[in-house]
Amino acid sequence: MIEQLPAIVLLLPLLAAPICSMIHNGDYAWYLAAASCWLAAAAAVGLMAQVWGGHTISYHMGGWPPPWGIELVIDELSALVVILVTVFAALVISALRESLRPKMRKHRHSLYYAAYLLCVASLIGITVTGDAFNVFVFLEISSLSTYALIARGRDRRALIASFRYLVMGTIGATFILISIGFMYMVTGTLNMADLAERLPALSDNRVVQASFAFFTVGVALKVAIFPLHLWLPNAYAYAPKATTAFLAATATKVSLYVLIRFLFDVYGLEFSFQQMRIDLLLIPLSIAGILIASLTAIFQTDAKKLLAWSSVGQLGYMVLGVALLNTAGLTAAIAHMFNHAMIKAGLFLALAAMIYRVSSSRLDDLAGIGRQMPLTMAAFTVLGLGLIGVPLTAGFVSKWYLISGALDKGWVPLAAMLIGSSLMALIYIGKIIDVAYFKPCKPEHAEVREISPTILIPCWVFALMSIYFGIDTRLTAGVAGRVAESLLGISS
């Protein structure tokens, strides 16, 4: 049983999805979906327990040894990402039921949960696999299900946003496929560990270089690295309320995980950073992304778009951490993956609760909501402080590592810029808090009440997690530090 865990964590949501689609009663479908998500989360915690301390599990699909068959590989990094995906999926789906209820027919709910589960399963699949082509297969599932989820948004603009994402996502996926094909062409294998063994000898081969270029661009599209982020703000802004919380928390993070995996493990440190000098590309782009996205966020009048632009900026932090190429930077990137996912999921969920009550995400309409919905807004404030990076919240931990990574390199201006950008986060989060607490409430929203506990509890769980992981950093920064050292080849 225990040795089957890598397959089980993936199969739980993947099998619940078709069953959900067959259940016409949306309520039963929700019970099944939520149960499978929570069980998968438990399995993920079990996986983490097995690999804790730097062990690796290898699971041979179909009993065929790699590189002939497909291998699932789980180490601390992938276990962390699996926990991120499953736990947050479980928390968000608990809230999803309430936010879906009024809009669709019952059977539509079941289909919605099925698409959601497929998305969860595919993200897990991408994370746990040790096979390059398998990454692509599950990337397809995740893309398709994400398009469907986004397109179910409030109005026609959701369809347009989804279509844009579809076009860009397809280009990205094609690039990734070309890249994997090229790698196979020159090595004859698809297994990641096997590729890592064979690629260094071919570092002068132009096919490998081209595959690297295609891969970076393709994944950068999925991660939404500046300037390939154009699909993200609209997709997040027009996606259905609570779904945004899940997508913002997990989808881009898993893509970033793929980027880290391939840059460090498959292509190798030397090839990626010393021969191709990917850091020279990523550092300026991520700095530009942080500044421009934060500035744009400040000038947004729509709360959802504001948070979406803030996501682009926060992804910049993570990419910057990767590109710094020292232990502190990489620790920051990985820890921030987890912390930001947690904070953004909570923020979007709290926002979803407010939108659910006032049916609009414009800042003007949220005026005075802090008095009508004090608990939701309090959670939002706590999470917002985390996003800014106030001490004793999770956001502070990752920013601290990032700044020390910049200082390790001796780049004081960069550290100053990071503090400056945190101030920008203070401004845009402050904008929402200001509107919510200190503006008079609109008369038509005078009747607005507190949201039901099904959404409120997940919100507060995220908020409390954000504080807990600001104090106890064993799971986030601890794992991230060990992973960073092993990725950089430093034996501790």
Binding site: Q4, A7, L11, L14, L15, A17, P18, I19, S21, M22, M61, G62, G63, W64, P67, W68, G69, I70, R108, L111, A114, A115, L118, A121, S122, G125, D131, F133, N134, V137, F138, E140, I141, L144, S145, Y147, A148, A151, R152, I171, F175, I178, F182, Y184, M185, V186, T187, G188, T189, L190, D194, R198, N205, R206, V207, Q209, A210, S211, A213, F214
Partner: protein, 326 residues
């Protein structure tokens, strides 16, 4: 030599698709393009791939394109010049990188290329003893890399969920009278008679051929995916000749909507049974006492799952599209 000629024809068809501005023509030429690609795959000896391309690209996707055109209209607006620039840059950059990479690629058909040296020899030499089917492509797809195929079925299923969420299904509308065709009704009836007779003649063989492809996949080219597509196209033919309503009476959409999930679950069930019998997921060798027999049963079962899912998804999508365009 044949390769070069086919590639020239392929280029010509691509040029035609780009140059002709009517969408219907573009759809027609796309189907031609797919057959040419299938022929090239054939010349390259990739029979299974050619099979899929011929069935999907030339048949089903043409029909889906048409169904989509019926919803969105036939004309496309001319793209303004400035909007062409960004895609042009992306495409040319991609082309340049591809050309750059082609400088170091192994020579065409080179037996010493890494692809033939590392993983492939075991598939070629040992698959008959380890897995069984004479068609090595089937062994690789269904057993060695069965998990990928499972994922692909998942992709098809996800597409189904997506279409169902966006277009809806089972929303049977009251029948709308078909617009009377311009021209002499007598002649149009006569046309119907010829087509109907031919369709009656062809539909049953198409379905039987689909079953042949389904069960013959171990030996020759084919398998669940191709079989599903061919089966679906037989149903399309029925729906096209007799109209969508009789086809839906034959296959009620409400019940049909279960089948994609059933196919996927059948595939997974094989994997789970092997897990219960102590092997890893999708390890068919432990299904029965003799590993080779286990592989055989496992492959047959999962191919059936693939076939059910693919056929049901295609038919469902077709119904959703056609209902929408009424």
């Amino acid at each position: 030599m044949i390769n070069m000629v086919l590639l020239m024809l392929l280029l010509a068809s691509v040029y035609a698709i780009i140059r002709l501005d009517r969408l219907l023509t573009a759809v027609l030429l796309t189907s031609l393009f797919s057959v040419l690609v299938a022929s090239i795959f054939m010349v390259l000896d990739a029979v299974d791939v050619a099979f899929t391309e011929a069935a999907v690209g030339a048949g089903v996707s043409t029909i889906f394109f048409l169904a989509a055109l019926a919803i969105v209209g036939r004309q496309c607006k001319p793209t303004p010049r400035r909007k062409i620039i960004a895609p042009l840059i992306v495409v040319s950059a991609t082309g340049c990188v591809l050309l750059y990479a082609s400088l170091d690629m192994p020579r065409f058909g080179e037996p010493l290329a890494p692809v033939h040296q590392h993983v492939a020899p075991r598939y070629l030499n040992d698959s008959a003893a380890e897995v069984g089917p004479p068609n090595i492509v089937t062994s690789v797809l269904a057993s060695y890399r069965g998990y990928d195929t499972f994922g692909e079925v998942g992709v098809v299923f996800t597409a189904f969920i997506g279409v169902l969420m966006l277009l809806g299904a089972g929303t049977r509308r009251t029948s709308i009278e078909p617009p009377t065709p311009t021209g002499a009704p007598k002649e149009s009836m006569r046309k119907k008679v010829v087509l109907k007779e031919v369709a009656d003649l062809v539909i049953a063989p198409v379905l039987i051929f689909a079953l042949y492809v389904q069960w013959h996949g171990d030996f020759g080219p084919g398998g669940g995916f191709q079989a599903g597509v061919i089966f679906a196209s037989g149903i399309f033919l029925y729906a096209l000749i007799y109209g969508i309503e009789p086809a839906q009476r034959l296959l009620p959409p409400r019940r049909l909507a279960y089948f994609p999930a059933i196919g996927l679950l059948l595939y997974a069930a094989v994997g789970i049974i092997s897990m219960l019998r102590g092997g890893n997921f999708l390890n068919y060798s432990v299904l029965v006492n003799d590993p080779l027999h286990g592989q055989h049963y496992g492959i047959l079962a999962i191919e059936l799952g693939v076939g059910i899912t693919v056929a049901a998804v295609m038919i469902n999508i077709f119904f959703s599209f056609s209902e929408r365009s009424l």
